[in-house]
Amino acid sequence: MNCLDFRRAVLSDPRQADGERLAHAASCAACRVFAERQADLDNRLFDAMRVEVPDGLADRVLVAQGPRRRRTPWIWALAASVVLATGVALLVPPGLAGERLAREAAMHAEEEKESFRARQVAAPGFLQAVLADQGVRLAVSMGEVTYARLCPLAGNTARHIVITTPDGPVTLFLLPTDDQRRRRAEIATGGMTAIAMPAGRGSIAIVAANPELARALERALAQA
């Protein structure tokens, strides 16, 4: 892959990080900077796109669909909208969905090794802002953000964040638009521990070489 191919690929999808791209970025400083700038722009673009949604939109959709639904009285839909206030797709069992996300997160972190070497400087308040967007907060400071970009993960656009702590790096994936209902799952694979769990909105995955570090970040994350 040459510089032209690399930049064309980055402009088409900065979230992808396959072997060829990583190898080129490792050997070409100018293209590495180009990719980092583009990833930063996409991060900001993701924020810009997420305009506020009218309150109760899903409830209104369900009520409007009520009379047209074939076997379900509309009032049931309204009742369900209250009961399932945070309900999301049940496409696979929640436990399995959690384990799947944990496994994909661990694989992604492993494949994107440059994330551990990067020393990006996040804007002040960046981590608090993206966590608030996810509906969670960090109860205690863990370290500094040294890597942040958008990545494709589990069919979603995820924020891939590395926090460098005194005990080593820990990777955090935020999936604010994840539709799956995922029960907490913890797996060990390839020398990494990965935890997936539901968040205020969507899901979160944590990956670290040290299981205690992954669990410490999990404990530090609280509902906003």
């Binding site: 100018a30 293209c31 796109m49 305009v51 009218p54 076997r71 909208s81 496409l91 494709p152």
Partner: protein, 173 residues
């Protein structure tokens, strides 16, 4: 609570995707009330065709395709009066995280022609692949990649006030 599996699953899908469909449609039409109407129409059509939707993994791309068709149908009926500056201040005040980080980008993104804005929304906001975007837009994957690339270049130029930086290229592998 809905008793049959189809109704239950439909409700779960509405809750999972209504917000992002609204955001997608908002950025296509730049009108919050119209975007909500289009969300309603999109889900009405989705429910009408619910039994035909068997691929659970593809439901997200399917919904965004329906939403886009709803927008296109409306566009055919009347020319939309799209003002890129319309209610921008109000939107920024309601921003999701740190509006100051996104203000300039929102303005710039709103200025992008729809042909570039649309695939960027489907990739960045919805998380769809190039193949899924191509299917939603009724075009080829190459065309989608070209539009994504040009859209990002244009966005960079708008945000930076200059073309995207292009340090010396190495053309050999």
């Amino acid at each position: 609570m809905p008793s049959d599996p189809a109704s239950r699953r439909f409700e779960q899908v509405v809750r999972a995707y209504a917000n992002d469909l609204f955001r997608y449609l908002y950025w296509l039409c730049r009108d919050r009330a119209l975007a909500e109407d289009l969300v309603q129409e999109a889900f009405a059509r989705a429910w009408a065709a619910w039994e035909s939707q068997r691929d659970e993994k593809a439901v997200k791309a399917w919904l965004f395709t329906i939403a886009r068709h709803e927008f296109a149908r409306l566009h055919e009926r009347k020319a939309l009066d799209v003002d890129p500056e319309a209610d921008l201040e109000a939107l920024v005040a309601r921003g999701p995280s740190d509006p100051s980080l996104a203000l300039d980008l929102r303005k710039a993104f709103a200025l992008l022609p729809a042909t570039y804005r649309d695939p960027l929304l489907l990739q960045v906001l919805a998380g769809l692949s190039s193949v899924e975007i191509a299917a939603a837009l009724g075009t080829t994957e190459d065309n989608v990649n070209a539009r994504l690339s040009r859209g990002r270049k244009a966005l960079r130029a708008l945000v930076d006030g200059e073309p995207a930086s292009a340090p010396a290229l190495r053309t050999n592998p």
